[in-house]
Symmetry: D2
Subunit: 352 residues, 4 copies
């Protein structure tokens, strides 16, 4: 297969850096362009970035010259880690120029013709791309909010098996979800902050679109209600969601566990490089999953589920853990791109 | 008023130490006896205890000789921080000997004739004491589990104003709730543990008894269902509860806020030394309450409530914060004792 | 005594907020003016400040209108928590206008005619004020860097008793030393950063001036060498310094302990409101002092010293702990002002 | 090469678990026996162990039956993670039975005929084994205290190039160094403990032996003095050492950096499976090394060195970081075993 040329928008930010790290030695994609704000443009990436991880910047990217986001890029697709304050128009610009845009920004997520995509959950929603009307190669595909992802992945088997009508979820979210510099240490050391701006609205709406039904024309959201309370906790990586779920039909805990375990990822056998061996890792050890101990399961792409038990108020309770900067952000977008390559929707453009 | 002689059971443990600290310079009570396991008996308190707080042991207690818990004590009342593995029989023994027992242990909490008492919430439940049948002066009165307290205090005004039918609560609990040495740092640094053994059952049952109706003979539990998910977080002090509540009748957020703010503590004007100026502290600042910043409100006796808002699944949501080792343990027991002294139920026994 | 009118420069910053908190209910000083950058000017303090502590803003200050720092202020003295990038000229301006400036900024600290003052250590250095040449009432007096203070307070008795020639010190410093937002949580959670920009140079030079001899004209620095390595650790408040010290003459550990314990604060009996009961708290408990457990000793104004023992390389080792935002910043400046009021150097100006 | 049969002593403890993890899929060694206290004996490893890491227990070990440490084992070598309270006699017993003992315990470290071995530093000290007098195959070889290792690895190039006469070191040590349950979270959250029992004595003596000269008969310790102050910090893994060093002859910072960079590991080209690609990783980025960001360099076997600069008191300063449970414990012992296999000192015994 011909390797694809990839640009990263917002490449110097926290999400952008995660794209750079995860795409190092990717078997299909080569990072050939990095774009950021005008302030960074014209500098080498290694000079423009404040590299967070402490490790080495991948050589292939370190010496690239940063261009201003919005400028024409000789690439087949871009991953966008742009800030929401600027992402909207810039991403649309690239799509109109025939570039596939895989965006982690929230701007386009809820638009009717934009897929809000988790490959194992709603791969068919990619069909919305056909309705976007961009020139050949142009498209906008989004991945969900980092706290949404873990919850939705855990819900999907239950939606399929029993239906889901109500969800009460309280999240405990890692500081890396706020980017860099993000959460001041004075705010979070030994503390919990019971509020994350804008987060609850996303967790209450995005799942309904993702779990909705695509009829070839539009996505009809899942007919359910989600109540979310989002907390920041002094954890580095890994959003934990504690959920109670009202099912469409009664089910025993054993049936719920069986449904979670029986769920078969539609990516199985597709050979997508970033697809984890196990989509869901279900445990019956009461102490698990824990962010620090399980966040890296499946290279950060596996969602861990535990504490499945009956709920005295709704029907069933569970805890879901997702790596917020891998599966919940850059890794999710990369897997989306891999799916679209597999579907033939993303391919190499004519070299300029 | 004659000062009362106080013994502390389990005085060398984490809760016992908190009793010692909070009773230093108490205007009504003098700690005149400390009891612990046979291993500590016969040693001076200062030698027997591994003093956690880092400050100085109160002089009046430091030189007391530790006696074995269960031995006869020349005191008017005892506070019990005994471990549940031994608390049951020992506490009963003291009550049978005519000593008032104020217990933080779970053993007797759910017994029909034992008050599970929060003075501002159910002071009338103290009437159960008359049905215990112990000799004069003998009684067992318990305070609730530390995670229960914050939730119940926040629910009380809603029960009174609207009724409460269902509660979904996810707690984020401090490590001090597990005592000392308690939670290993290897388990909790940068982590969340989605399980606390035995805790959820307590949070699901104790509120119903506390919020129940006492008719002079028995307590009829509140007819409601509570679903609790309890998490340990890397916080020192302060249990945060994120709750969704189904009310008995519809109410707006404004009405709920008004009910919380209008709630008048029955302790107002009683002059109990440990009663905080404000029973509930209600904030509309989205970022609050936070454990580290607000746990010490009212000397640790005030419960802080925030994020009151509508719930898409049940009716209303809120967050409540309680100081788990003060209001939620030793401080709660001391306030219970003060109420009982005020009611005339605890008084000085004849000196031996 | 006539109360003095106080202004706070940089009042919205972290140090400025600490001034506001510590001056609430001060028996001598009234905060009557708050100054900050042009961005905040014209707004009420309560609206301009992002109040860090979580508690309530003192009422007397909350409604003051913020003026731009540098503007004329009808006050007797100002406390400056200005950023070093602007502090120099602004502070000089106030002194030239006849206002006493008590500064926490580093700009003027090492100037020959500016006292770098710790009241218990070098109160006579206040005499430098007479050489500043400002109009009546005008002066600039500084307090040292927060990491310097703990070390110098522990060294002072040794300088007096034995002389000090060399100091090797490694600090472990709290995040509050970096202000707000300060250290990103992504950098410090579960981590140590072995570098704090500019800090080591201050810790290596400021002690020599403070411990130097003032002959009525100039301060001759202590003839000693200090080697400092400064680390940031995930602690909220409290800088810990681990030091090895080469003495001017040999001394046993017992002699060093005796010297530390025998040191008599020159503030004793002066009745300065912010002077702690104990200047130094010396412990022989190996586990202490610890930041979280002892930082608040003496209301944050006591320096705790422990682990005094022989050193195989130099002569003696010890550990010193200081509350970096109280004794090491705002509290130190306030105590300086109290000393100068006591000395008659600061007094009420004619009311305008 | 014939694979070797390995036993693990103290297999259920924290160090023992680390041996199990690091030996999974080892190319030379098969774990065929696990030994622990009598309490665990007779149970399957998976049932006897409280597995700390949260991941899965390696299958090949999980079903082994735990035997009591001290019992005869059909193995070629044992790794000992035994507690010092029992390690001495048990380890000697295995050596007398002709088994090679690679011990992480402190008991035998300072004995004249026991190598205290770091393969890159003093591989020739293995020659001491010939003087132990155990039956063929029997030997005791120890690895140093976890805080000693990082310091010694950083000192070695300086000893070779310039000589080292004095060392002042302050350590900031991770909680994993205390095993499990180890440090209570109530002691270390947001805190520093300026004391670790017994640690300073080890750090002051072990380096002298390791860096000493072996003349074929005895090891003459390095003629130097080390002063150590050991602190516990809220870090999971990674001991950071901040050191000032007095050299045997003057050297510029550039020369010291050059010596550190030029040091050639004697393991280079030997093909030992656990030897890292780089023995030392030297950085000139002031912010590094940091425990959380660099502890896993070289799979935890690389020692990171930074902040090399002149010292106003001694000659040169630096910071060294070591993974305390890998290079500083189990990984170090495994590398020792690999060296001894390479040297022909450990080989397969006749199968029983």
């Amino acid at each position: 297969m011909q390797r694809l040329r990839v640009g990263i928008l917002g490449a110097t930010g926290a999400v952008g850096q995660q794209f750079v790290r995860l795409l190092e030695r990717h078997p299909w994609f080569d990072v050939t362009a990095v774009a950021a704000s005008a302030r960074s443009a014209g500098r080498r990436y290694r000079d423009a970035v404040q590299w967070i991880s402490g490790g080495a910047i991948p050589d292939s990217v370190a010496d690239l010259e940063v261009v201003e986001a919005g400028q024409s890029l000789p690439v087949d697709l871009v991953f966008s880690g742009l800030d929401a304050s600027v992402a909207g128009a810039i991403e649309t610009g690239y799509a109109e120029a025939g570039v596939a845009v895989l965006s982690n920004a929230r701007n386009h997520r809820m638009k009717p013709d934009v897929p809000l995509l988790i490959p194992e959950v709603n791969p068919d929603h990619a069909g919305l791309i056909d309705r976007q009307g961009f020139p050949p190669g142009g498209m906008i595909v989004t991945n969900p909010n980092c706290a949404t992802v873990g919850l939705v992945c855990a819900l999907k088997p239950l939606v399929d098996a029993f239906g889901v009508e109500t969800v009460q979820v309280t999240t405990m979210q890692a500081v890396s979800g706020a980017g860099y510099p993000g959460v001041p240490s004075l705010d979070i050391l030994g503390n919990v902050i019971p509020f994350i701006g804008g987060e609850e609205a996303k967790v209450e709406t995005e799942p309904l679109k993702i779990l909705g039904r695509f009829d070839g024309e539009v996505v009809t959201p899942l007919d359910a209600r989600v109540s979310a309370q989002c907390n920041r906790v002094p954890v580095l990586d890994g959003h934990l969601a504690s959920a109670s779920i009202g099912l469409g039909r009664r089910a025993t805990v054993a049936e719920v566990l069986a449904a979670l375990r029986a769920f078969r990822s539609p990516l199985h056998d597709l050979g997508l490089p970033s697809a984890p061996e196990r989509f869901l890792d279900v445990t019956e050890d009461d102490r698990y999953p824990q962010p620090r101990r399980h966040v890296d399961a499946g290279g950060g792409m596996t969602v861990s589920v535990g504490r499945v038990r009956a709920c005295p108020v709704l029907d069933v309770r569970l805890v879901a853990l997702v790596h917020n900067t891998v599966r919940g952000a850059a890794g999710g977008a990369i897997l989306n791109a891999e799916l679209l390559v597999h579907q033939g929707r993303i391919r190499a453009r004519n070299q300029p």
